[in-house]
């Protein structure tokens, strides 16, 4: 409580920073990733670190959390030059980190995860009641009351992310590094998180906040530093800059602007869905997609949008209603079946469902279209490589070439390859979930442009996203789902982020008659 007076005022007074990076350089295999970065964090400050993927943000965080050591330059903690050797060393120095990739052990309980390796114990024996009590106290700060003894596996992604953040806070760190902490959170949860962050800064804790969400950054950050290609471009007080300014600094001058919406006339109906219902997940879902159309599906986590899509492509079974593809009623027994009918499906989780992270770019690209590259039963490597080089060019993928291991690319570049993998098959209907999740503005722009170009060429595309501004700018029509029911089907130019949000949260009154489906527990 004694630090209460420190806040933004502290930043202006210029007291001793929590840490300072001066002239920090970092090379990986002779690749210069950070080129003379100066960066500091004041007590009580939220300092946003922004930049395109590959700009060096993750490497910066890695240096501070002991995952890498600088090649050149110094890192000072409380005025002392230090070399952070490992995450446990960073924790000893009072630095905690929340990673974009969840770092939880699925089978273990929430409480154990929060205090991983640091459980309260006497003579090495864990004090379980104390552990549970502390975990509950921490989660209460987020207004989250869950059973802390249940395994993390049983929680929805957004709750896991909160557990992850609680874990970093539990270390009593003075410095908190947050890498895309809100990527899986609903707007309400983001608000709760921000409340907690403000409580922490009031105690004098400094926070480095890495995010792609400009609105969030401008809501929460005191200062913003922009990185581009391993160099720091600027550090500004948030009040002295604008979103447009920051974005243009990130991408180096050129404004991507809004993607142009093509209002060409649409072709024939490619897919028609009638009264699709599944006993548990969704009920009475009807819609159609035409050739040349981009249909947006707006839904929050738990809206069962993925279950609907998975039923369409043969990954989920047990539904009633009709799926009509090119005028013929069909029902796919497997994804393979759906692929034969020329449907492409890009899943939501690129790390676990979409890519072979330890394989090369070209093998990833060809994984869904090996038939196209096979002659006499043998895969033609040269043909695959050529296709891969085309994709790299079309999407301006930042890579050393087709032979690179895909796991070493940034998220945005991985996403581009994952999309290219399915475009390679030139499907009649492409279903894509969260096309730009955790992707920077530049890559987002390229992905949107490519999707619109394909639609203009006559592909029917269904985009499922919880990024509503994206849906508004990208789609022709938007279908809003809430708890497995269609809440609205509106033309994109009539939609606003707000109206979509309200419908997706189930607030709006629609004219649609929908049957009540059995609701599951919230934990689903």
């Amino acid at each position: 409580m004694k630090h209460e007076s420190i806040g933004e005022a502290g930043v202006e007074r210029g007291q001793r920073p929590l840490f300072t990076l001066s002239g920090v350089k970092k090379t990986f295999d002779s690749n210069l990733v950070l080129d003379g970065i100066d960066f500091e964090l004041q007590p009580g400050e939220i300092h946003a670190l922004v930049g395109e993927n590959g700009a060096g943000k993750s490497t910066c965080l890695g240096l501070l959390y002991g995952l890498h050591q600088p090649t050149d330059g110094t890192l000072q903690r409380n005025g002392h030059t230090v070399r952070i050797e490992s995450p446990s060393h960073a924790q000893e120095l009072g630095i905690g980190c929340v990673f974009q990739e969840l770092s939880l052990a699925g089978g273990l309980s929430v409480a154990e995860n929060i205090f991983a390796g640091r459980a309260p114990s006497r003579f090495g024996v864990v004090d379980w009641p104390e552990l549970r009590r502390r975990a509950e106290d921490l989660l209460a700060e987020f207004d989250l009351s869950i059973n802390v003894s249940q395994p993390v596996d049983s929680l929805p992604i957004s709750t896991r992310q909160i557990v992850e953040i609680a874990k970093a806070i539990s270390m009593d760190s003075q410095v908190l590094l947050l890498d895309e902490p809100t990527s899986a959170l609903t707007p309400d949860e983001v608000d709760a998180l921000f409340k907690v962050l403000r409580k922490l800064t009031a105690k004098g804790i400094g926070i480095v906040y890495v995010s792609h969400h400009m609105t969030e950054i401008f809501t929460i950050a005191d200062r913003i530093s922009v990185l581009r290609d391993g160099k720091k471009i600027s550090t500004t007080q948030t009040s002295h800059t604008s979103q447009a300014q920051v974005v243009s600094e990130m991408i180096g001058g050129a404004h991507p602007g809004d993607v142009e919406r093509s209002d060409d006339q649409l072709g024939d109906v490619v897919l028609k869905v009638e009264h699709l219902s599944n006993e548990v997940h969704f009920a009475d879902v009807s819609f159609e997609v035409r050739s040349g159309e981009i249909l947006g599906i707006a839904g929050l986590l738990g809206s069962k949008r993925s279950e609907i899509m998975r039923s369409l492509v043969g990954l989920m079974h047990g539904y009633s209603g009709a799926i009509i593809m090119h005028g013929q009623s069909t029902s796919f027994r497997s994804l393979r079946d759906a692929m034969r009918a020329n449907i492409g499906y890009v899943p939501e989780e690129r790390k676990t469902e979409g890519l072979f992270l330890e394989d090369t770019l070209y093998n990833n690209l060809a994984a869904a279209s090996l038939d196209n590259h096979t002659r006499l039963g043998l895969v033609q490597k040269s043909s695959v490589i050529a296709a891969c080089e085309n994709a790299i060019k079309a999407f301006s993928v930042k890579t050393r070439g087709p032979e690179e291991i895909i796991g070493s690319l940034s998220g945005g570049n991985q996403q581009k390859i994952m999309l290219a993998k399915w475009l390679e098959r030139a499907p009649d209907l492409l279903i894509i979930e969260e096309p730009t999740k955790g992707v920077d503005v530049g890559a987002k722009f390229q992905i949107h442009t490519e999707l619109q170009r394909r639609a203009a060429d006559g592909m029917a595309i269904i985009v499922v996203s919880s990024d509503f501004p994206e849906l508004v700018s990208l789609s022709t029509r938007i279908l809003v789902v809430h708890e497995g029911r269609v809440m609205g089907d509106i033309a994109a130019h009539d939609a606003t982020e707000d109206s979509l949000l309200q419908m997706a949260a189930g607030i709006s009154n629609t004219s649609r008659q929908t049957t009540e489906i059995p609701r599951e527990g919230k934990a689903q």
Binding site: Y65, S86, P87, S88, A90, Q91, C97, F99, E101, L102, S103, L104, A105, G106, G107, L108, E112, A116, G117, R118, A119, S121, G124, V125, V126, W128, E136, S145, I146, N147, V148, Q150, K167, G521, K522, A523
Partner: protein, 330 residues
């Protein structure tokens, strides 16, 4: 209040369903049930089955496996495993015998062979965490090396005429119960509690469930792994010493193939090669279950070859059943 989410779902289910769920979820209960069934069926088929001498022979016979399964269960929980346990057992049984024949006292000989076991385990851990060699390859290598050393040292012969006092641990009884069995049960109990409740062993589960997450949480992954392999080495060596004491000879061919029996028993007992799960008690019950099936078949005069088929089938069925149940839940 904090039960809000789980509470809703649990209340809806009938008590009977809840009981069944818990029964299937807790592998130890399932196994105890199966063990009870075998015992009841066998008691009716062969009256000798329930006799004290049969149980005595059975429990003494499975003691080495039960001791080794402790280490294997810990390693499986950490996402690793160790194929060298059988060889370490043979090596320690020959080394303890040779040292005593060379005139060293019993405690010194026993201590040296336990240290040797720790050293082999430590090397396994170093190969796996330090050099990043896959556990299968690393321990396959040390398995061959340790067995080779045991054979070289003895030129393939068993070493007998050991000091009489050495036979005490392996042969003595307290109140009719073999010391060997009591010691085994004691170790199982201690390790089961330790793995459930101590901070060190809880880290093992983190590493097994998500190694990267464990590292990012500040857990010394390498150190914990190496210690786990060393513990396994010591336990395997202890099993070797106890076997030598019971047989009154050091046998370089002891424990041949035991590594796979132990792995199978641990997996039947709820451990998984994916890591992050399993308990010591479960693994122990897995050993008991397999031993009982073997014993029953022997009593029913089923050929030893058929026994192999049955054990293999039991292993696959146990895992398949588990996958089916989990799959339906997920």
């Amino acid at each position: 209040m904090s039960m809000a989410i789980n509470g809703d779902q649990v209340v809806k289910k009938k008590p009977m369903q809840r009981f069944l769920r818990a029964f299937i979820d807790i592998r130890e209960l399932t196994l105890l049930f199966m063990i009870a069934i075998i015992i009841i069926v066998m008691a009716n088929l062969n009256p000798y089955f329930l006799s004290f001498s049969n149980f005595r022979a059975l429990s003494v016979g499975m003691a080495p496996t039960a001791i080794i399964v402790i280490g294997m269960a810990i390693l499986l929980a950490s996402g690793g495993f160790d194929l060298s346990v059988g060889s370490v057992m043979a090596l320690s049984s020959t080394v303890v015998a040779m040292m005593m024949l060379a005139g060293f006292s019993i405690p010194v000989s026993v201590a040296c062979s336990l240290v040797l076991g720790a050293a082999v385990g430590f090397s396994n851990g170093m190969l796996i965490t330090g050099l990043g060699i896959n556990p299968l390859i690393a321990t396959l290598g040390t398995m061959s090396i340790a067995r080779g050393i045991a054979l070289v040292l003895t030129e393939g012969f068993s070493l007998s005429s050991l000091p009489k006092e050495f036979g005490w641990i392996g042969k003595a009884s307290i109140g009719g119960f073999p010391v060997l069995v009591l010691l085994t049960l004691f170790l199982i109990l201690i390790f089961d509690l330790a793995v459930r409740h101590t901070r060190f062993f809880r880290q093992v589960y983190f590493i097994g469930a998500n190694e990267k997450a464990a590292m990012l949480s500040g857990i010394h992954v390498g150190r914990v792994r190496i210690i786990a392999y060393a513990i396994t080495g010591v336990l395997a060596a202890l099993a070797g010493v106890l076997l030598a004491s019971r047989l009154m000879s050091g046998t370089p061919t002891a424990g041949n193939g035991i590594e796979l029996q132990v792995l199978a028993a641990a997996v039947i007992g709820g451990a998984s090669l994916r890591g992050g799960e399993g308990t010591i008690l479960g693994a122990f019950l897995g050993v008991v279950f397999v031993a009982l099936i073997n014993n029953s078949m022997t009593m029913l005069a089923v050929s030893i070859y058929w026994q192999m088929i049955v054990i293999g089938a039991v292993l696959v069925c146990a895992v398949a059943l588990d996958m089916l149940i989990r799959g339906r839940r997920g």
